[in-house]
Each structure stands twice: as C-alpha cells, then as structure tokens.
C-alpha cells in the first residue's frame, strides 16, 4: 500500500470512530433523555422545567448544534494531520 492509501485508511477509521461517539451522544440526548427515559427524568427539575420535557423541547436541540461544531473542529484537525486539508 502506498503512503497515501495508508493515510486514507487511517483517516477513515478515525472518522468512523468520531461518528460513533458523536452519534451516540446524538441518540442519548434526543431518544434517550427526551423520549425513552423522559418520565424518570421528569422527576428532576431544572428551574421551571421538568428535565425530560426540557430535553425534548430545548436541550436536545442545543446539543445538536454543539455536536456539529465539535465535529467540524475534529475533522479539520484530522484533515491537517493526514494532509487532506486544502
């Protein structure tokens, strides 16, 4: 394998690892906190909000935005590391 191909394989592996971690968070805040475990979380209060309800109507959306920007940063770094940035 040429060096470029090795880089490409390593780059893709690392990318998949990032995806798995970020998408797990994506799943936990929305489907987990906002839907599946909502009733349990509703016992906890966040100011005037029940926590499960807050995740469903506010919190998950904030986390989504943050997730994308984290991904952008991670990938920009990864691009540089393997010389795929332009």
């Amino acid at each position: 394998m040429s060096e470029k191909q090795q880089h490409a394989t390593a780059y893709w592996k690392q990318n998949l690892k990032y995806l798995i971690i970020l998408l797990s968070i994506w799943f936990i805040v929305s489907y987990g906190c906002g839907i599946l475990f909502r009733e349990a979380l509703d016992e906890i209060r966040l100011g005037g909000f029940k926590l499960g309800f807050w995740f469903a109507q506010q919190g998950s959306i904030y986390v989504f935005v943050i997730l994308i920007f984290i991904y952008v940063r991670l990938m920009n770094k990864l691009d540089k590391k393997y010389g795929f940035d332009e």
């Binding site: 909502r38 966040l46 029940k50 469903a56 920007f69 332009e86």
Partner: protein, 588 residues
C-alpha cells in the same frame, strides 16, 4: 398607523429587496443556475439553507401545533433539527466531494445505472411536489389574512413573485434572496416572542422565560399544567402518544430531513468539503434560534388563550377574538346558554372545521350548524396561534405587520428552493442525463427555465385547488424521503459493497410500502383502517422509520447475493471519503 398600512409598507419594502437581489444575482450558466457557481460562503449558505428549510409550516403552524399538543409536539422540534446532525456527519461532506449537481446524479453514478437514476428522479419529484403544494397554499393564506385579498389572488401573486426570482437567478438568485428572507423571517419571529416573554415572565429571552415564573411566583409550566388538568385536558408536559410512536415519528422526521433533495442540494453550493460541514453547523444554529423559541411561544400563547377566554362572558371578549371568528378560524356555540365561553377538553364540533350558518346568536356570535354534544364550546384553529399572538398580547401594530412579512418570507423562500429542485430534476437528470445528452449548456438552461415555469403552474394549481390529500401528505413527504433516499445515500457512502441491484430494490420496496401504508391509513384505500390496525402501533407519520429499516435490510441482503460493484465505482467511494481535491461542482 393602522395594521393594514404597516403591513403593505413592510411587505412592499421586503419584496423590493428580494427583487433587487434577484436582478443583481442573475445566473448566466447552468452551474450558476443549479449550484450558484459553487462559490457561496458557508455562513451565507447556512442562512439560505435555514430559510429554505423553515417553511410557512415552521413559521405559522408549528408553534400552534405544539401549543395544542404539548409534549407530543416535541417530535417536530427534535425531528426537524436532529436531521441536520445526520446531514453534517453522514452526508454533506461526502456529497460535496462527489461534486455533481443533484441527488439523482449521485444515485445514478454511485449505482452505475440509469434505472437507479430514474427511480431517484421519481422519488425526488414525488417528495418535492407534495411539499411545494402546501407552500403555495401557505402564501395564499398569509396574503389573504393580512392584505385582505382573496386567497386565490394571494396564491397568484405568490406564484408571480417566486417565478421572477427563480427564473432570473436560478440557484444563485434564490440563495442570495434566501439570505435576505432568513433575516426578515427570524426578526419577525423573535420580536413578538421577546415582547410576550417580557410581559409574562419578566425575562426577555423566551427560552428562559418558558422555564421562568409568572406573577405570584408560580412556574409558568406548572401553572399551565394545572390549568390543563382543571379543564380536563392532559397535562401539557405529558402528552398522549405512545413512547414507541414518538420514537418512530421523530426518527422518520430526522432521517427524512437528511434525505430531502432540496436540503441536500444546498451543500453542493459551497466551495470545499470543509465548508459543507461548517455550513451545516451554521444552518442548524440559525434554525435552532426559531426552533427553541417556538415551544416557548407555544406555552405563552396557550396560557394566554386559556386565561383570556375560559369562563369569560362573550360580550366582554377582546376584539381579536371576534376578528378571527369573522375569518372563520374561531367558533363558539353557547351550548348551555350562560353567555360564557366554556373551553374544556373534547371537540366542540362534530366535524373538523366549523360550518357557519349565516345567522348570529343571542350574543352576536356566528352560529355553527355542526356543534357537537361535548361540553367544550370553543373551536380554535391551530394556525392562528402565531398570527394572533401579537394581537392577544396587545403588541404594537408594526409588530403584527412584521409577522405577516415574516410568514411570506418563510413561504416564498421554501417554495423557490423546491421549485428549483423540481426543475433541475427535469432539465438535468431527465433531459441532459437521459433523453438528450448532447444538449448545449444554453439549451439546458432554457429547459430548466421552462421546467420551472411549468412546475410553478402545477404548484399554483394545487395551491388554489388544494386536493384533500395535500395537507395530510405534506408531513408524510418526510416518511417518503426516509424510506427511499436516506438509506441509498448512506449505504452508497459507508458500504463499499453496496451495488445497484441492492440499492434499487431497497428504494423501490421502501417507497412502495410507505405509499401503501399512507394510502391505507390516511386516505382509506385498500380497506383503510383505524389506529387499532396500525402495524406495531406505528402511525403513518412514524412509519417512515419502519419502511427505512425494510429498505436497509433488503438493500444489504440483495447486494450480498449479487455481484460486487465494478472497481471504478469502488474507487469512487474511496475517493469521496477523502476531503481533498473536491474541485468545483462539475457537469460531467
């Protein structure tokens, strides 16, 4: 100045702005027409994507729906934002690297088959047309409501406006107009929200006000829950849908969002792969501003509505109530003859919409002929929550007019984006790629403009004569996208072994089974059925999730039983996984 004058003034100014931009950003080549020359900055593209995404439904209806559905409304909030995470992480960068104009382009090339391309074009047309018909109707409603013109004339004016900037500028004109439209619509959405949040909770930020406390120190949401329980409704923060159905609908909306052609095509317009990722981030950030405010508006307006009308004498009700009654969006029938409005759980009418007789009742109310036996006396159309909100809260006239301009911006920007996808599907995917490959750039541009013209006439026709199924089907456009495109694109990128046979059979089975389920349970065909008969207790809105899973399973199984894709396709998959060397979106 009166609301009327303000409305004409603000709508006039914003329209002049849109036209100015359309003329300034005229498109000269197919590349400018389809993907704005591929030179749009990530922030501008994010704003355009956000405006494209937030339709009349997001602007006008969503807060109203949530206001009546409470927790159940969360499916829209999470579903229509979470899809952008999938887009940014799983689709946008790779499709940008692929570097063609359209989604069918990708499907056709990745699956080295014109059948796959044709299936994709058909799916794109079905999805886009169901969506655009609702938008034209939205334009008509806003015009008729605020400018006091006939709803059909409203649709016609909307058609003329969209046509002008779409024909002139193509994607380039539309993108820059959408940037302006985003600014108008977000300003128009936020200003009343700030006012009302301040009024009710003393906190100017609606997202915080929603969790704040009202006069007397009680938390707003607790107060609303209590009001709901007293009147016999479900607790606002609890909801009635089953957990599985909420799960399924949310997932169908998320994957559908990520599979909508008019959203995906946005990421072909930025210069580099890096910009595609960033642009998805900006888009979601800008969308999130509206999507986190909407549930706050829902809570404010719900509380306001109950407090203003519940157990109040009809004769002392504020003016806005009677105005909306006159336009047919509120109906009250004094079932127990006490002159007071009883607003409790249960449907006030025996059918969906009020049927007014021409007569007036003892208190001056418009009589309806289809009142039900339930105790509830009040019918309120969900769409008025955002539109009437400034009036209910006694806000100044210019704010009310601003909401009209914002609603128009939302409806027009989405309609324009969709029409462009439709015309691209026809001129590029059908004519250039299949029927007449030797067509010149100029010829293709002419074909695209003719296609836009035809598409707008069809969309306008549906706007003026909305077939009963349109309203029911718009929400299902997401299910269709989830059941067809989403798996084909994802597998095309992440599964190198996926081949043409697998993807085509998956897409066909996915969209057919989704269409079947929609027709059976929404339109009562194939024997119909009620919610008791739903498969696995899944509503038609959530069925996209199941259809998507079926699509994936079939694709994977079929692809493993048939030959691997040719080497050059596997090489192409390798190459789109690496961001460098994206170049410009090209025509080959």
């Amino acid at each position: 100045m009166s609301v009327q004058t303000w409305t004409w003034l603000l709508v006039g100014i914003t329209f002049a702005l849109y036209f100015g931009i359309a003329i300034w950003a005229r498109a000269g080549s197919t590349k400018e027409f389809y993907v704005a020359g591929g030179g749009v900055s990530p922030l501008a593209n994010g704003m355009a994507t956000a405006a494209d995404w937030m339709s009349a439904a997001s602007f006008i209806s969503m807060a109203g729906i949530i206001s009546f559905a409470g927790y159940d409304g969360s499916v829209y909030l999470m579903g229509w934002t979470g899809g952008y995470v999938l887009l940014a992480l799983l689709l946008a960068p790779y499709l940008r690297k692929f570097g063609k104009f359209t989604v069918p382009d990708f499907i056709g090339d990745r699956y080295y088959s014109n059948t796959a391309r044709t299936v994709a074009v058909i799916c794109a047309l079905i999805v886009s047309f169901t969506y655009v018909a609702g938008q034209m109707r939205g334009v008509g409603i806003v015009f008729s409501q605020f400018l006091q013109v006939d709803i059909n004339l409203g649709v016609a004016i909307g058609m003329a406006v969209v046509l002008t900037f779409a024909l002139l500028g193509g994607m380039k004109g539309i993108t820059y107009t959408q940037v302006a439209q985003y600014c108008v619509l977000i300003f128009a959405f936020m200003v009343p929200a700030f006012f009302i949040s301040m009024q009710m909770t003393g906190n100017i930020i609606p997202q915080l006000g929603m969790g704040g406390s009202v006069e007397g120190g009680e938390f707003l949401l607790d107060k609303l829950d209590k009001l709901h329980t007293q009147l016999g409704f479900n607790e606002y923060t609890s909801g009635t849908k089953s957990t599985w159905d909420v799960f399924a609908i949310t997932l169908a909306l998320m994957t559908g969002t990520a599979g909508l052609p008019h959203v995906i095509v946005r990421f072909f317009t930025v210069p580099k792969v890096k910009d595609a990722r960033k642009s998805a981030g900006y888009a979601l950030l800008l969308i999130a501003i509206l999507y986190t405010t909407a549930p706050a508006i829902a809570v404010f307006s719900r509380t306001n509505l109950i407090e203003t009308v519940s157990n109040k004498e009809y004769s002392e009700i504020p003016e806005w109530f009677k105005n909306w009654e006159n336009t047919g969006l509120i109906a009250w029938s004094d079932k127990n003859d006490d002159g007071k409005i009883q607003y409790v759980a249960g449907s006030a009418l025996s059918s969906k919409k009020p049927v007014y007789t021409d007569a007036r009742g003892a208190h001056g109310e418009r009589l309806v002929s289809n009142a039900s036996d339930a105790k509830n006396e009040l019918y309120v159309d969900r769409d008025i929550m955002v539109l009437a909100n400034p009036e209910i809260a006694n806000l100044p006239n210019w704010v009310i007019a601003l909401v009209a301009a914002g609603g128009l911006a939302a409806a027009l920007s989405t309609a324009a984006g969709l029409l462009l996808v439709i015309s691209t599907s026809i001129s590029h995917d059908l004519i250039k790629k299949q029927l007449k490959p030797d067509i010149s750039d100029k010829g293709e541009l002419t074909a695209a403009r003719i296609a836009i013209f035809a598409a707008i006439l069809i969309a306008g026709y549906f706007g003026i004569n909305p077939p009963g199924f349109v309203a029911a089907v718009v929400a299902l456009a997401f299910g269709l996208a989830a059941a067809s495109f989403f798996p084909a694109i994802i597998l095309g990128i992440f599964d190198k072994r996926m081949n043409s046979q697998g993807a085509v059979s998956g897409m066909v089975v996915g969209i057919v089974i989704m269409l079947f389920y929609m027709m059976k349970f929404k339109l009562n065909m194939f024997g119909g059925g009620t919610s008791e008969d739903w498969w696995f207790g899944t509503s038609p809105e959530g069925f996209g999730t199941i259809a998507m899973c079926i699509n994936i399973v079939i694709s994977v199984v079929v692809s493993r039983l048939t030959a691997a894709p040719p080497q050059e396709v596997q090489d192409m998959v390798e190459s789109i996984r690496i961001p460098s060397g994206a170049g410009e979106a090209s025509n080959h």
